[in-house]
């Protein structure tokens, strides 16, 4: 008796099988978009209470500990769009952020984890248009792309030609990713054609740069709106759908994440194109980042746990992850000042 009764036998018998049918997904291919299919948009059903239950239990049904937790947190680091979107941003501030982007985690910690091979860097640095150039210079040679919030960020209510012009300018300045907020009014009035045309225009303006469409879900009122808007953006050729600017009253919530991830899944199942997902705003703790990764793995499959298809829009998340990683290495709880500032 005794010990045997508690022996761990939890080697996961579950596989990592992605929920998509094998062979269907066009891996690595950029989403070209498709004609607006209004029937599909209108048949979207989202049951808020059920989605909230799913969201609430994601973090209680799954748990990653010890080496798994360390590896998952490192994965989270590589999915971060390290972001500064303040009115007082300066080139100097941006250069500091870029330095952090190159070396997001202290070398000795990475050494201890056997991960100091240069692979651990953030996914992108995200700044306002004015600072794109400074960021591009600071990141030269690192391979880390600069993402620009563009097109009248964060409200996105400038005239369309001006917004498109700003996108052109950001791309010109070297941004390889463009984060653009869509017109919430189109969603709230059900004007899907207008939304589609707008995003199509953004996409054309982006050229080779990847387009992340921000839904500003805190202003869309319902999950049904969120899911429908996500679909329309993908139909119009978005490379990523993103929750928030970080400036709305409510930012990335898990129920919104579930609704958007399911929209991404539906789109992939129908078209074969994998679109990325980026929750942004309000994600500050290592624990939160794990739940978001769990959400992606559960709803979309392990294939989505990559910076190509998943990003965190976050500024302070990295600091908490660093402290957790150090704790994993030393066994002692860490302090913020032990890690270099961004």
């Amino acid at each position: 008796m005794s010990d045997q009764t508690v022996r761990q036998r939890s080697r996961s018998t579950a596989p990592t099988a992605p929920p998509l049918q094998p062979g269907l997904l066009r891996e690595g291919a950029r989403n070209p978009g498709m004609p607006l299919e209004l029937d599909w948009v209108r048949e979207v059903r989202i049951n808020l209470s059920a989605v909230e239950r799913r969201a609430a239990t994601l973090g209680t049904r799954r748990s990653v500990k010890k080496a798994w937790q360390a590896a998952w947190l490192l994965k989270a680091v590589t999915c971060i769009d390290l972001t500064t979107l303040s009115g007082d941003d300066t080139p100097g501030r941006v250069r500091r952020l870029c330095a952090k982007a190159r070396h997001p985690v202290r070398g000795d910690i990475l050494d201890a984890l056997g991960m100091n091979d240069g692979s651990i860097r953030v996914a992108a640095v995200c700044v306002y248009h004015q600072l794109v150039e400074a960021a591009v210079q600071a990141l030269a040679g690192s391979g880390i792309p600069v993402a620009a919030v563009s097109a009248g960020f964060p409200h996105g209510l400038n005239p369309l030609p001006q917004r498109l012009q700003e996108i052109h300018a950001s791309v010109e300045a070297g941004a390889r990713e463009i984060d653009v907020v869509v017109t919430r009014g189109h969603v709230l009035t059900g004007n899907w054609e207008a939304l589609y045309e707008e995003v199509r225009a953004f996409r054309d303006a982006c050229g080779d740069a990847h387009l992340k469409t921000i839904l500003a879900t805190g202003e869309l009122a319902t999950l049904r709106n969120v899911a429908r808007a996500s679909l329309v953006c993908m139909m119009a050729g978005a490379d990523f759908v993103k929750t928030s600017t970080g400036k709305e009253g409510v930012n990335a919530t898990l129920p919104v994440g579930v609704a958007m991830a399911r929209a991404v899944r539906a789109y992939a199942e129908r078209t074969g194109y994998a679109v990325g997902f980026k929750p942004a705003g309000g994600i500050r703790t290592a624990k939160q980042s794990l739940v978001w990764l769990i959400l992606m793995k559960e709803e979309l499959g392990t294939g989505w746990l990559t910076p190509e298809l998943f990003r965190f829009g976050a500024s302070s998340l990295l600091g908490d992850i660093e402290r957790q990683l150090e704790h994993h290495v030393t066994g002692r709880y860490s302090a913020q000042h032990r890690h270099p500032l961004a």
């Binding site: 008796m1 005794s2 045997q4 009764t5 508690v6 022996r7 761990q8 036998r9 939890s10 080697r11 996961s12 018998t13 579950a14 596989p15 990592t16 099988a17 929920p19 998509l20 059903r45 989202i46 049951n47 808020l48 209470s49 059920a50 989605v51 909230e52 239950r53 799913r54 239990t57 209680t60 049904r61 799954r62 748990s63 990653v64 500990k65 010890k66 080496a67 798994w68 360390a70 590896a71 998952w72 490192l74 994965k75 984890l113 056997g114 991960m115 319902t222 049904r224 399911r262 990764l293 793995k297 559960e298 499959g301 392990t302 746990l305």
Partner: protein, 812 residues
């Protein structure tokens, strides 16, 4: 490559074990051997036969417990009996303090309970930690409140006394809480028999109750298998049995307790439908299925084990389900990232396997995910079966495992028909984004609980229990408390004087002296022109006066032994015809507005009142008491008014459950009801049974008083003039011994009231087990029909209805 680097590539989940250390040291502290818990102390674990309880995830024994003998049970019942008066005398607030203390202590030891539960039962720690144990604490808090409020909310009620409770292995602690909390709150004392596979948390709770200084004997545990349960059921000093388990055992308990006067509440099996309409949020439906059938490995009485999907979305749903099944994780129940643990015991595992194989043999397509189950321990993978006929084994039999069948339907009406195509009626889940559709279907599904766009929601404030062969009685909510109390007058009620039951006699042959009825038709004064016109009392079936199938009549003797009249001698076939007529009429009657039913009851009163003299004369011809007869007619008119009044006032409730939803507790009619009316006061007794049943939307097959059946047969003329739809009330006269057993055993009768002898009560309860119909019998106890407290009111309305809880989460 470092381990971290490897995981970074695969992004697998790793082990996330919950520690079993505390639970193991608790077991070690007890030497891994337990006696019973009786009178506030554990008995000697070595005093007699014992057996081991094992961890299903490993198959390894964890502790030894006693096999309770009849003597052990007797000792426990005596302890409970001795403690009961003192416990009741503590009063509402006194008991509330103890229940509150129990709730607090459960919370303080919540993790220990959860870990021990998962070790003994095999359920994932997430479930025991996040669902079972928090609900246990919630039940004790909630019922501490009921203890506090009882005096005001249930005046004139008292505890039934000593309660024997037998609980299953699927939710050991939760079922303990569902049973113990209301019993103690209402002043009863308890002898609990936990399931033999999972006795440990009950023993931990016993220890905790001692810490809480619960008075000795108020709560007792006797461990053991079915034999111990049988001894508890058979014990003469137990006043009530509360059982959760299989319908098979429930049937035995009903039969064994027949006629003993023991109250019985049974929460039995199910084959609950999970109905998916084409406008549902399918991704959420998939998670709903996970919670419905893969929760606790499907070992849930209310598991949504029959998916009924509208044809247009069935293919998409099946594809989504398969994908989801691939990502379920099975393994060590103490792993925090596991969805499914182990099956409780090898015997259960074998049962699941053989049922699935049988289904496969019948042509079902059986699909399981590509991953394999752990090799050691007792595991069975999640299983989806398609291509099943509604008549197939997998669609009909309760599997009690992680196996779901999927069938399709075309229309809402077909969905309802398929949902109800089962002997069970425990729960149902309905998925649609249309509130119109949901609230149309929910009342039509025969089930005690209906979840709209959710599944397996439970709470202490909401009653849980079955329709049909899923049992009777409710647990939780106000409706659950009634199971543990009885009207105070009942405790002192005398046995009814056995009226000299008339010897059935055929109508005497023509020419015999005794064969000349007074007035040849029931007390009528011969008309001036000669004899009055002959009146023949017939049966009343489907709104028509019908001659009895056998074409025999029996004489009704009145004053001085003279024949007061004749009534038809109904037989089995007449009962069958009456039940058919009632079944045909019932749904339509229930669908009428309560206002309309009230109008008809008032109309009956009006028309009876118009015939008061004639009716009184008839009663007097049978009883010889003219004054009493007039009073009885007057009382009958009043009673009809009472239920006319109640018809639109026996409201349901909205329970305050702690989710964003409305939990509607609806009082629904039981369906087709038999009513064997009391011999005494033949008109008032008849009306007192008929009126509440009809007011609540039931259809009735009434068997009138043996002494004065003419009171009932005269009444059908009142009904004919009062717009009572045909079939809502049916009257079968005859010899009780010939027709009551047929009615009590009829599988399409949903419930039966019997007011008569102790022997007759026993027979009715025993005969009811075929379809587990609800019974309400008098055990020969006298009831004062004239007295408003005993002869009418809420007790009758409760017995005429069953509570359905409909959970409707909302939010957009």
């Amino acid at each position: 490559m470092s381990k971290v680097a490897e995981i970074f590539e695969t992004m697998e989940y790793g082990p996330a074990p919950e520690s079993a250390e505390r639970a193991n040291s608790w077991l070690d502290d007890h030497g891994r051997a337990f006696g019973h818990y009786v009178g506030g102390a554990f008995t000697d674990p070595d005093a007699g036969e014992s057996f081991e309880t094992a961890n299903p995830a490993t198959g390894v024994a964890m502790a030894r417990v006693r096999q309770g003998s009849p003597e052990d049970v007797d000792e426990a019942v005596r302890a409970a009996r001795a403690a009961q008066p003192g416990w009741w005398a503590l009063g509402p607030h006194g008991r509330a303090r103890y229940l509150y203390a129990l709730a607090r202590r459960i919370q303080k030891h919540a993790r220990l309970f959860a870990v021990l539960e998962s070790m003994d039962n095999g359920k994932p720690i997430r479930e025991s930690r996040d669902l079972d144990i928090p609900l246990v604490a919630r039940h004790f808090y909630h019922h501490a409140g009921w203890a506090q409020l009882m005096a005001g909310e249930m005046p004139d009620y008292e505890p039934v006394g000593v309660v024997g409770q037998i609980i299953p292995w699927n939710f050991p602690m939760l079922m303990l809480a569902w049973k113990v909390a209301p019993a103690l709150a209402t002043g009863n004392t308890v002898v609990l028999k936990p399931a033999e596979f999972t006795p440990l948390t009950a023993l931990l709770f016993a220890e905790l109750s001692r810490e809480a200084e619960l008075p000795a004997g108020v709560f007792n545990v006797v461990t053991g298998d079915g034999r111990t349960g049988a001894a508890l059921v058979a014990h003469p000093s137990v006043d009530k049995i509360a059982f959760t388990g299989s319908t098979e055992v429930g049937r035995i308990i009903r039969s064994e307790t027949a006629g003993t006067g023991k109250r019985v509440s049974l929460e039995l099996g199910g084959k609950s439908p999970f109905v998916v309409f084409d406008d549902a949020d399918l991704d959420s439906v998939v998670e709903g299925v996970v919670d419905a059938i893969w929760f606790n490995q499907g070992q849930v009485c209310c598991a949504g084990s029959r998916i009924l999907a509208q044809e247009g979305i069935a293919v998409a749903l099946e594809r989504k389900l398969r994908a989801r099944m691939e990502t379920l994780r099975m393994g060590d129940p103490l792993d925090k990232a596991v969805d499914m643990g182990a099956i409780v015991a090898p015997v259960q595992l074998e049962r699941i396997r053989s049922l699935v194989e049988k289904g496969r043999g019948e042509g079902a397509e059986v699909w399981q995910p590509t991953w394999g189950v752990p090799r050691e321990g007792w595991f069975y993978p999640p299983t989806l079966c398609t291509n099943c006929a509604p008549s197939g084994t997998l669609a009909q039999v309760e599997i009690f495992g992680p196996v779901v069948v999927m069938m399709t339907f075309r229309t809402p009406a077909e969905a309802v028909a398929l949902a109800n195509d089962t002997r069970y009626g425990l729960a149902a889940s309905i998925w649609t984004e249309s509130v119109n559709l949901a609230l149309d279907v929910a009342p039509k599904v025969k089930a005690g609980t209906v979840w709209v766009n959710c599944t397996n929601f439970f709470d202490a404030a909401s009653g849980f229990g079955g329709y049909r062969e899923s049992g009777f009685g409710r647990e939780g909510g106000r409706e659950g408390l009634w199971e543990y109390v009885r009207p105070t007058w009942e405790g002192t009620a005398p046995q009814a004087p056995e009226l000299s039951a008339p010897v059935p006699e055929d109508v005497p042959p023509p020419g015999s002296a005794a064969g000349a009825p007074a007035g040849a038709g029931g007390g009528d004064t011969p008309a001036a022109g000669g004899r009055s016109v002959d009146r023949t009392a017939k049966l009343y079936i489907g709104g028509k006066q019908t001659r009895p199938d056998g074409d025999y009549s029996i004489a009704v003797r009145g004053v001085g032994g003279r024949v007061a009249g004749e009534v038809g001698r109904g037989n089995r076939k007449d009962v069958r015809n009456a039940v058919e007529a009632a079944r045909k009429a019932q749904a339509g009657w229930a669908a009428r507005t309560a206002h309309n039913r009230a109008q008809i009851l008032y109309y009956l009163a009006e028309n009876l009142d118009a015939r008061r003299e004639e009716t009184a004369a008839r009663l007097a011809s049978m009883s010889g008491d003219g004054k009493g007869a007039a009073a009885e007619v007057e009382a009958a008119v009043r009673r009809l008014f009472t239920y006319g009044a109640w018809a639109d006032k026996w409201d349901g409730r909205v329970h305050s459950t702690p989710f964003r939803n409305v939990t509607l507790a609806m009082n629904e009619p039981i369906g087709v009801m038999g009513a064997v009316c009391p011999d005494e006061l033949p008109l008032l007794g008849f009306v007192s049974c008929l009126a509440p049943l009809v007011a609540m939307g039931n259809a009735v097959v009434a068997i009138p008083s043996r002494v004065g059946p003419l009171a009932a047969t005269d009444f059908y003329q009142v009904m004919d003039t009062s717009d009572v739809p045909g079939g809502v009330v049916n009257i079968v006269t005859g010899v009780h011994d010939e027709i009551v057993p047929t009615l009590a055993a009829h599988d399409d009768v949903d419930g039966i009231w019997y007011f008569g002898s102790a022997v007759g009560s026993t027979d009715v309860e025993r005969a009811s087990t075929g379809n587990m119909k609800r019974t309400w019998v008098s055990y020969g106890r006298a009831r004062n029909w004239v007295n408003a407290q005993q002869g009418e009111g809420e007790e009758f309305l409760r017995e005429a209805t069953q509570v359905k809880n409909i959970w409707v989460p909302y939010g957009e």
